[in-house]
């Protein structure tokens, strides 16, 4: 079975947090996972590279962009939407 967007995003977040994939729960925030602002920027870069997408994100005002980073689940669904938009 091919890897889903969700699995791949969780893998990227797990790598950044230096945790096992099994340790990541969808409701967790990046802060709870110990990912700081630099870790976030690196994760977004990894996501862009993995899916060949542009993530609209400005570190000065994370809330202003459509890309919701409030939890693992919100990041997964934001990436799923960007991937779907790209193939549409």
């Amino acid at each position: 079975m091919p890897e889903t967007v969700k699995q791949r995003v969780i893998q990227i977040i797990a790598d950044q947090a230096i945790l096992e994939v099994s340790d990541i729960s969808m409701s967790q925030t990046l802060e709870e996972l110990g990912i700081d602002s630099m870790g976030l920027v690196e994760s977004i870069f990894a996501i862009e590279e993995a899916f060949d997408i542009q993530v609209p994100f400005n570190a000065n005002d994370p809330e202003a962009s459509d890309f919701d980073i409030s939890s693992v689940a919100s990041i997964v669904s934001a990436v799923e939407k960007l991937v779907a938009d790209q193939t549409a």
Partner: protein
């Protein structure tokens, strides 16, 4: 200890190709930031900058010189010419052997790196121009200034990212104050508005795509600029004896390291540099009428800087003015402190405070008098200029009216 005065100033930046044009733009609150005109700009997500327009190197330099002068060196040489000619100094004999040049730059010949990487990686060529190394090295500008003006004393380049110029000018100040030398040429330069230079910055996700709005609640990042500013720092007695015009006096300098994070600023590190400069200058807090802020327009810098100023100045923080001219000329990275020193000279000499333009919404975390959008007339006796670099290296200069 010797007193140190500024007897010459020169610049080229997005606001003007010399000091009078730049100060006029600052007085009028003009914005030098606009669409970038560089190769492959369509592949950048950030397409604005404080670029020097209307500039043709061939009107100033011959072909042989251009083959040796990166854009950051060209800017430096033009600024140095204006400054030295204003000071009216010629460097000969024993005087020349003591006089030197200390400049700041973060990236040096970034355009030269960029162009030659294109040659070997993109175009697949296996040969580059023989002068690539002497053209791109960070000290190229300082060396060419020394050759142009016969400066044979202590000369070097300081690279501390966004604080480079302030650190450089601090060194020049120390050398004259200690009696080591009578005159130093100092300031800084930067030119990284090329595809690779901007692309690298994009990666950090701290750049604005539309404007630099320091201290405004709706600010969304920094905007890069380019250019140079160069000054003649001179021993007060030496300047007085020859009847030189003094633009301002440099009275204090302090530098600190946050020792905490490679990109996030620290209130404590900034506050220690600010209070250190006051102490070094022998100034009381309430003597400072104006601060030229680092004011990058990022969320993190501006609130941290305002908190540091509030901590150091207490009640007086509400009485002083603080503005960021980066809103007009962009962030010149290693050259920024030098261009911003011009706003300090204007405040002290002309009694005009340069504004923070692009200011739209008050931010409760930056609740100081940021001189929004319009320049202001005010008599100030002493000022500070802040520079807080990535890497947590802070440098603050204190100046006074002469």
């Amino acid at each position: 200890m010797k007193r140190v005065v500024i007897t010459g100033a020169g610049t080229i930046n997005a606001l003007g190709h010399n000091v009078p044009a730049t100060l006029e733009a600052m007085r009028e609150g003009r914005c030098g930031i606009g669409p970038l005109e560089i190769r492959d700009v369509e592949r950048l997500s950030v397409q604005i900058g404080g670029q020097v327009h209307g500039y043709d190197p061939e009107t100033h330099f011959n072909r042989q010189q251009i083959s040796l002068y990166d854009r950051f060196t060209q800017f430096t040489l033009l600024a140095a010419k204006e400054a030295v000619e204003e000071a009216g100094l010629t460097f000969e004999g024993e005087f020349a052997t003591q006089s030197g040049v200390v400049l700041g730059t973060a990236g040096g010949g970034v355009n030269t790196w960029d162009e030659n990487y294109r040659t070997v990686y993109e175009e697949g060529k296996n040969r580059v121009h023989p002068f690539v190394v002497p053209k791109l090295m960070n000290n190229a500008a300082a060396s060419h200034v020394s050759m142009e003006w016969n400066l044979k004393g202590p000369s070097f380049t300081v690279a501390t990212a966004c604080a480079s110029s302030n650190h450089a000018m601090g060194q020049a100040f120390h050398m004259i104050r200690s009696g080591m030398t009578k005159v130093m040429i100092t300031g800084g330069s930067e030119s990284m508005l090329c595809f690779g230079g901007v692309k690298a910055w994009e990666g950090l996700r701290v750049m604005s795509k539309d404007a630099c709005r320091p201290f405004s609640a709706n600010r969304n990042g920094m905007v890069q600029g380019e250019g140079a500013a160069v000054f003649v720092f001179e021993d007060y007695d030496h300047a007085k004896a020859r009847g030189a015009t003094m633009l301002a006096e440099v009275v204090g300098f302090a530098m600190t390291s946050d020792a905490s994070d490679i990109v996030m600023p620290s209130k404590q590190g900034a506050a220690r540099a600010i209070s250190g400069a006051l102490k070094d200058a022998g100034l009381n807090r309430d003597q400072i009428g104006y601060i030229n802020a680092h004011g990058t327009g990022t969320a993190a810098n501006d609130k941290t800087e305002c908190a540091a100023v509030a901590d150091v100045f207490g009640h007086h923080a509400d009485e002083l003015m603080i503005s960021s001219t980066k809103s007009m000329h962009g962030h010149l990275i290693g050259g920024t402190g030098a261009v911003e020193l011009l706003a300090c000279i204007m405040a002290l000499r002309d009694g005009i405070i340069a504004p923070t333009i692009g200011y739209e919404e008050p931010d409760p975390e930056c609740a100081l008098d940021v001189v929004p959008n319009e320049a202001r007339e005010a008599k100030v006796d002493a000022v500070l200029t802040n520079a807080f670099a990535f890497g947590g290296l802070n440098a603050v200069l204190a100046m006074r009216r002469v």
